[in-house]
């Protein structure tokens, strides 16, 4: 608990009954990726920090408490990109972006100019006069990001901001966002289902699972030693947990056979194939052993083994391909 | 009072006096150059209530003595009865039910209407029905006598109880039949000046006109009785 700690960045403990109990700290200028499976509580965390969901606990940003005494949402100086965009339907793209500036006292002319610059930066300057319903999904998403960034908030809460963006735009936005964040002391929380975001854009990763923080750390460490199935999937690893000890191995290190494997493979499992999907040049096989495991095999091998959903197979992996570690005490 | 320039007096009068008072007001304006008579017509009860509540007005004329009584706190002079009225039975001009006299309203299938017992005209009608031992029920109890007449002239009712003056005003639109003993149940129209009058002289002059021989002629012509 960090109840009395006041850092220049973000320090918060928030509890929402039955949905969330999380502590999060971040230094000024940090980008924190929040990852976790659907329903883990990522959106709830962001809404609790913004004061949009009644939550117990405390939040302090930039050395100032937002909770004792409580600070109104409008005075928190935050920027929120909502998962469903929530653009004002009755305002043009330009007016949507200018809204935050104008409600913080900027003159109309100046707010419009700034808003226009943000739209240009995100490649939707020519759509400034359009209403949200006349925008494509990705265009609307860009307007929503511009709207949140334009007033230069202390805390940026981005709920899957790159979902629905085409790859070129997403790359450009990542660059833009990184540049933006580098130049000021704010903290950004970035909810994402994309390993690239988590690994490349973030200074720290916070892994949520069923409403609690399962892991935090530098992106590289979390990727190398995931403690939840979800992150393991995200980075494409098999992870096996025994108490506080974790073992991981890559899908390509897994051998698939029809008979029980002999020899040196210390780790072996038996189960039915759940499904197959192409994965790059390989075929990725999902197998239900005592846990779900993934194995990558060549298309030739898949054909030879007659892999199909329901087929019983053995999986094995050599000890040398397995990395073992313990969870740091949280 | 003064007769110089733009003076206005306001007369609150029962709706059944609409035609006669309009005529008398014209007469009064002619006799008193520079004076305008404003007429506010409504049901007697409403007017009496408003007079008590201080509604602007110089003269009050109602269709029965009971309502005038409720306004007594606002009166500047003693009420004077200036006209009476009796009830008749009217049918539509084409008389669809083939009524030949008062007794026919007891026939099955005849739809007749009267005023609500709470209204002056309804009290009289109820008394007449009682006096004549009529058993048949009216189809409706209208809130005022003009509504009764409207039901008859629009052929919605076969017959209705209205004042002689109403029947006369409706002319060819109705056929009129005497009601036995109606002379025993006359209504009286009283008039008085009001406390709140700022033109009490003119107000009194209007009352005088109404009760004068000239005024009485207007009422007689319209079918009213004289006190």
């Amino acid at each position: 608990m960090a109840d009395d700690t006041m850092t220049a960045g973000l320090s918060a403990t928030v509890r929402v009954d039955g949905r969330l109990d999380a502590t999060i700290t971040a230094d000024a200028g940090d980008v924190v990726a929040v990852i976790g499976p659907n329903g883990a509580g990522k959106t709830t965390l962001l809404r609790a920090l913004a004061g949009l969901v009644p939550a117990a606990g405390q939040v302090s940003v930039g050395g100032r408490s937002w909770t004792s005494p409580p600070v109104l949402v409008r005075d928190r100086n935050l920027g929120f990109v909502f998962q469903d965009q929530s653009l004002f339907p009755h305002l043009s793209a330009l007016d949507n972006v200018a809204f935050g500036l104008r409600s913080r006292g900027t003159s109309r002319a100046e707010a419009d100019a700034t808003a226009r610059a943000w739209l240009e930066r995100f490649g939707v300057g020519d759509l400034a006069a359009r209403r949200p319903r006349e925008l494509s999904g990705g265009q609307a998403q860009r307007v929503a990001i511009a709207r949140a960034l334009a007033p230069a908030p202390d805390l940026l809460l981005l709920d899957e901001p790159f979902a629905g963006l085409d790859v070129g735009v997403a790359t450009a936005l990542r660059i833009e966002l990184a540049r933006h964040l580098a130049s000021y002391d704010g903290v950004a929380l970035l909810v994402t289902h994309d390993a690239i975001d988590a690994l490349t854009l973030a200074d720290r990763v916070l892994v949520l699972d069923e409403g609690v923080v399962a892991q935090t750390g530098a992106p590289r460490d979390v990727a190398a030693r995931p403690v939840t199935d979800h992150v393991a999937r995200l980075v494409g690893l098999n992870v096996i947990r025994e108490g506080e000890t974790f073992r991981s191995f890559s899908p390509s290190a897994v051998t698939v056979s029809l008979g029980q494997p002999e020899g040196s493979a210390r780790h072996r499992w038996h189960g039915a194939v759940l499904g197959l999907a192409p994965h790059g040049d390989a075929v990725r096989v999902l197998v239900a052993a005592d846990r779900e495991l993934i194995a990558d095999v060549t298309p030739a091998a898949a054909a030879e083994l007659g892999l199909a959903p329901g087929r019983e197979v053995w999986l094995s992996v050599k000890q040398t391909a397995v990395e073992t570690w313990s969870r740091d005490p949280a | 009072g003064n007769d110089s320039g733009d003076t206005t007096i306001t007369v609150l009068a029962a709706s059944s006096l609409t035609e006669t008072f309009t005529q008398l007001a014209d007469q009064f304006e002619k006799d008193h150059p520079g004076v305008t008579v404003k007429l506010s017509f409504d049901s007697s009860a409403t007017l009496a209530q408003q007079a008590v509540d201080g509604a602007p007005g110089d003269v009050l004329a109602t269709a029965d003595t009971g309502t005038m009584d409720t306004a007594r706190d606002a009166l500047a002079s003693d009420p004077k009865v200036f006209a009476t009225n009796t009830m008749v039975l009217v049918t539509p001009a084409d008389n669809p039910a083939g009524i030949t006299g008062f007794q026919d309203i007891e026939q099955g299938g005849v739809t007749y209407v009267v005023c609500v017992p709470t209204a002056p005209c309804g009290k009289v009608a109820a008394a007449l029905l009682d006096d004549n031992g009529v058993q048949a029920k009216p189809a409706s109890q209208e809130v005022d006598v003009k509504s009764v007449l409207a039901k008859v002239t629009s052929d919605e009712a076969d017959a209705g109880f209205v004042y002689t003056t109403d029947a006369q005003a409706a002319r060819d639109a109705v056929e009129t039949f005497e009601i036995p003993q109606s002379a025993d149940e006359p209504t009286s129209y009283p008039i008085a000046t009001l406390d709140q009058s700022k033109e009490s002289d003119l107000a009194q002059q209007f009352v005088d006109l109404v009760t004068s021989a000239d005024g009485q002629a207007v009422f007689t012509a319209a079918g009213f009785g004289t006190p």
Partner: protein, 265 residues
């Protein structure tokens, strides 16, 4: 604690002050009316046959009005909101006309149409159906003056909701009737409820059209407002007590229904 009852802040004075003035304007006359009522005679009045009859007819007429609005008015609102037919804007304006008519004139209009010599009334009479002076006439008068409130309210709700979900239902194979029943109507429910309440309330207070078209006979066509109007001519105190009867009954129903309706959107 980030738990805060009003995360959006306190309501601004610029809204609280005029809102309070409006509330005072609406509520104050009611309070003085209640205070001026001779409550001592309340129960005696309630027990009279005339009041019981009038309450029954008022309740019946307003209930039938609400049902007629739901059954007939809802489809009309839907047609106006969703179907593009020639003359739609004329019909839309025409539907609003009974709102503008003084009730007594509305009664006259009904007489011209459905009276004994009315265009339709004469036909009905030849068929052995007489409408004037019956409880049916009361119901028709109430429906005529109240339904426009319902139709406008529901049409507004249907338009505000938009066709978005109708389209989704179509992609799922639903025909228009199924879509109406299972999607359009449930989504417009707050508007339907508000409209039903407006129509019901308007019906409770109605008397001009009723007295003109249906007459005023105790036990068949005399409603509470007609009774009150009559009493007002004779004895204002009785009229006030009767008004309180109408008020208390309808307030009880309002309180029971209103909060439920409005708080489940």
């Amino acid at each position: 604690m980030t738990r805060s009852a009003r995360p959006l802040g306190r309501p601004p004075l610029v809204l609280v002050v005029p809102g309070t003035v409006a509330a005072a304007l609406l509520v104050l006359p009611l309070i003085t009316l209640v205070l001026d009522t001779p409550w001592g005679s309340f129960w005696d009045e309630v027990r009279t046959q005339a009041v019981r009859d009038a309450l029954r007819i008022t309740a019946l007429a307003s209930a039938v009005t609400v049902v007629a609005c739901l059954v007939l008015g809802t489809p009309l609102a839907w047609l106006l909101a969703r179907v593009d037919f020639p003359g739609r804007s004329v019909l839309r304006a025409a539907v609003a006309v009974p709102l503008v008519l003084p009730p007594v004139v509305a009664g006259v209009a009904l007489v011209t149409a459905l009276g004994r010599h009315g265009v339709v009334g004469a036909l009905l009479r030849d068929a052995g159906l007489t409408i004037p002076y019956t409880t049916t006439a009361v119901v028709i008068a109430h429906t005529f003056v109240s339904m426009p409130f319902y139709v406008l309210s529901v049409e507004g709700a249907l338009r505000a909701g938009g066709e978005q979900y109708d389209v989704v239902a179509a992609t799922l194979g639903a025909d228009r009737w199924t879509t109406f029943r299972r999607v359009t109507l449930p989504l417009a429910m707050p508007g339907v409820m508000a409209g039903a309440m407006l129509a019901w309330a308007r019906s409770l207070g109605e008397f001009g059209a009723t007295i003109t078209f249906a007459g005023n006979y105790p036990g068949t066509t005399q409603t509470m407002p007609s009774l009150i109007y009559g009493a007002l001519q004779a004895d204002p105190q009785v009229a006030r007590t009767l008004s309180m009867v109408l008020l208390v009954v309808s307030l009880a129903i309002l309180a029971a229904l209103r909060n439920r309706w409005l708080t489940t959107p």
